[in-house]
């Protein structure tokens, strides 16, 4: 159960190796926090002692469980197993995702990217939502992207998977109204993380810690959508209506 200042007792990160996911956990660490569950593809590769340092997670227990975003048939069981181990889920962060730079022309690569970023988000999102609905409280935090708000020629496959994930998340949030469960969709711009290492920075870029701070503030204020940085809400609100020729020029 979150307390009145939106400090969770239990956090689950789907895609537990994500820089942003871990930054959010570090931001949400408090005396109230009891358990952090990192759901990752390769549990054996995770060293919980090092993680406890990275996350500054103090006395909270760190639990690592296997999770494969591309195996939707396992997602309900993964969630059920986590609940059996740690009880109610207060905050679940959907943090997995790939950039798939090779996916612009390769149909197989593109389909694989869609499997992770969109299909995996749908199946795991539904599995989490079912649990949150049953327990009558809890927030699913979905890491979307501005790239999905208006897709660009330079990364349209990634952008389209994020558009799908974003549409799913906001719609799921509407469908959960009145159940006690909530969805918070997070739309960062360019984030300097291991996923984007070596790429040229776009305007309005942010660090994982910025995303984490915005997520924590969004949880306190019970927001349904959070932009990082906040100014992107205005910028993208205007750019959404830019003529195509202007939009393409901005895409360098």
């Amino acid at each position: 159960m979150n307390n009145a200042v939106a400090q969770p007792q239990t956090i689950v990160v789907l895609g537990g190796t994500s820089d942003i996911g871990q930054a959010i956990v570090a931001e949400l660490v408090s005396p109230a926090l009891r358990t952090v569950v990192l759901a990752v593809r390769q549990p054996d590769d995770v060293d919980t002692d090092t993680l406890a340092d990275t996350l500054h997670s103090g006395d909270a227990e760190i639990v690592v469980v296997p999770f494969d975003a591309t195996a939707p048939e396992t997602h309900a069981d993964v969630v059920a197993d986590i609940v059996t181990r740690v009880g109610d889920l207060d905050v679940v962060i959907q943090a997995f995702g790939q950039l798939g730079t090779a996916a612009l022309s390769d149909p197989v690569e593109a389909a694989a990217l869609a499997q992770v970023n969109y299909v995996g988000a749908v199946s795991s999102g539904l599995a989490v939502a079912d649990q949150l609905r049953r327990q009558g409280h809890g927030t699913l935090v979905v890491l979307s992207s501005v790239a999905g708000f208006r897709t660009r020629g330079s990364n349209f496959v990634y952008g389209s998977t994020k558009a799908g994930q974003d549409g799913f998340a906001t719609g799921l949030g509407h469908s959960l109204a009145g159940t006690g469960a909530r969805v918070m969709t997070v739309r960062p711009g360019f984030v300097r993380s291991s996923m984007t290492t070596g790429m040229a920075e776009a305007p309005f870029s942010a660090d994982p810690a910025d995303v984490a701070a915005a997520v924590a503030a969004g949880l306190r204020r019970k927001r349904s959508v959070v932009w990082v940085p906040g100014i992107l809400r205005v910028v993208m609100g205007l750019l959404r209506f830019a003529p195509d020729v202007v939009w393409r020029r901005l895409d360098r």
Binding site: V5, S30, P31, D88, R134, H137, G178, G180
Partner: protein, 452 residues
């Protein structure tokens, strides 16, 4: 049995959750209904939802709201047999015109008798009269096995003292017999003093509280520097007929008149209006308008329940809600009290008027809050950045001197903080395991603070 699935939150509106809400009359509370709660998340009784945090909500489970029930006054015994769903408002409207007053009232009339027992509430007279539970002769409790037990402090002492202040976790109180206070008039005679700072306030309360039945101070926690802790101290008692005719001869015609007004209601959907400048301006105005020193007659509402005149005032904090932080520290821990006032005052958080009160002896409830010492209560907007760190620091200072936090207000503490503040927690848990081995009664707060 019909139920509706609804979102519930406490008065602070901070941590809503959804449960199946059963609105029942006392005779509908049966073993069958208990079986019908039917999932592993249990049930909790809810009164009027004035506890600030998550104590009367039960995410994913059931919540029972008891219809008001009867009010049977026995003037010869000076007691009333009253349904647990009856509010102190309804009770006062019944008994005040007949010359009686409730033994203890909190800052609002909109709490139920059941809630008053479950939270073992206190009022401005705690230093003189103790908590609500000390004025209850007996109650009927629906326990997890479906039994209705009539409990008194003599024949089932441990169940009694686990239920008084037990936050509804031993069962549902259905009705209670409560001892009342005889009154000659429905007015109070009140001494009001403006006090320039915290030290003189503490001194005045220490030296003079014993002369009054009711005493409380409102402290301005936004003021800093030499004004830090400036306050308005109000102390009084029920006015006798003679006192009423001295001060307000026109009121003597109908000395027990009681018709509390409700002036305005706050509409939903407002943003947080209690920002720092607004709170600062209000606190300033409120201090300036208070008389330096004055004796006068006040109504029950004006003296005990001023905020009841503004319906749904909790909406003034907007969607993120607010929390009320209340703790008690022993009388000897004045330095800690002073340091906390200093810290809050310097923190930049917009604390609306805080309330300072001296508490008397324990009631004996295992989880009852009142214990001898200073209790300070402050309201804070929940979404303010940095609030979590401030509260964790205050928690630490309160525990360091052997203080504790009030469960009916709590919305942020941890299992460790509660365990440290309530040395009889294990005794409570043992009673609970005996009367509710399968965990029929549960609340969000109980899960959060490991009270199960």
């Amino acid at each position: 049995m019909r139920s509706t699935r609804r979102e519930l939150s406490g008065w602070g509106r901070t941590s809503p959750s959804v449960a199946d809400v059963f609105d029942v009359a006392a005779d509908e509370l049966t073993a069958d209904l208990l079986a019908g709660f039917g999932n592993d998340r249990g049930a909790i009784a809810r009164g009027l939802g004035r506890a600030y945090g998550d104590s009367a909500q039960n995410a994913g489970g059931s919540v029972v709201r008891l219809a008001p029930g009867p009010i049977l006054l026995d003037p010869s015994a000076g007691t009333v047999r009253v349904g647990a769903g009856v509010s102190l408002d309804e009770l006062m409207r019944h008994v005040v015109p007949r010359g009686w007053f409730v033994p203890v009232t909190p800052g609002t009339r909109f709490v139920t008798v059941g809630g008053a027992i479950a939270s073992d509430i206190h009022g401005k007279n705690h230093h003189a009269d103790g908590s609500f539970g000390e004025h209850v002769d007996s109650f009927t409790l629906l326990t997890a096995d479906g039994d209705r037990r009539v409990v008194t402090p003599h024949d089932e002492a441990d169940l009694w003292w686990a239920t008084i202040g037990g936050m509804g976790l031993t069962g549902v109180v259905i009705e209670a017999t409560v001892r009342l206070l005889p009154i000659e008039t429905s007015r109070c005679i009140v001494d009001t003093e403006r006090v320039p700072n915290l030290d003189s306030l503490l001194e005045r309360m220490e030296s003079g509280d014993h002369r009054y039945r009711y005493s409380v101070a409102w402290v301005d926690l936004v003021a800093s520097g030499s004004n830090m802790g400036r306050s308005v101290l109000t102390r009084g008692d029920h006015a006798s007929l003679a006192e009423l005719s001295d001060h307000d001869p026109s009121a003597v015609d109908d000395p027990l008149a009681f018709g509390p007004p409700s002036l305005v209601a706050v509409p939903p959907g407002l943003p947080n209006l209690l920002s720092k400048p607004a709170v600062r301006a209000f606190n300033e105005l409120w201090y300036r308008k208070a008389p330096r020193s004055h004796r006068g007659i006040e109504s029950i509402t004006g003296f005990f329940h001023p905020l009841d005149m503004i319906g749904d005032w909790n909406r003034l904090y907007g969607r993120p809600g607010f929390l009320q932080y209340q703790f008690v520290v022993p009388f000897g821990a004045v330095d800690t009290l002073r340091s906390i006032v200093n810290t809050v005052s310097a923190s930049g958080h917009a604390s609306f008027l805080a309330v300072l009160k001296r508490l008397g002896p324990d009631s004996g409830g295992m989880l009852s809050f009142p214990t001898p010492g200073w209790t300070l209560t402050l309201d804070l907007p929940a979404a303010a950045p940095g609030l979590d760190g401030l509260l964790a620091e205050l928690d630490r200072r309160v525990l360091d001197v052997g203080g504790r936090h009030y469960l009916a207000k709590d919305a942020t503490t941890t299992p460790e903080v509660i365990r440290a503040g309530y040395p009889r927690l294990d005794e409570f848990l043992a009673v609970r395991r005996r009367v509710d081995p399968n965990g029929v009664w549960a609340s969000d707060q109980a899960r959060r603070l490991h009270l199960l």
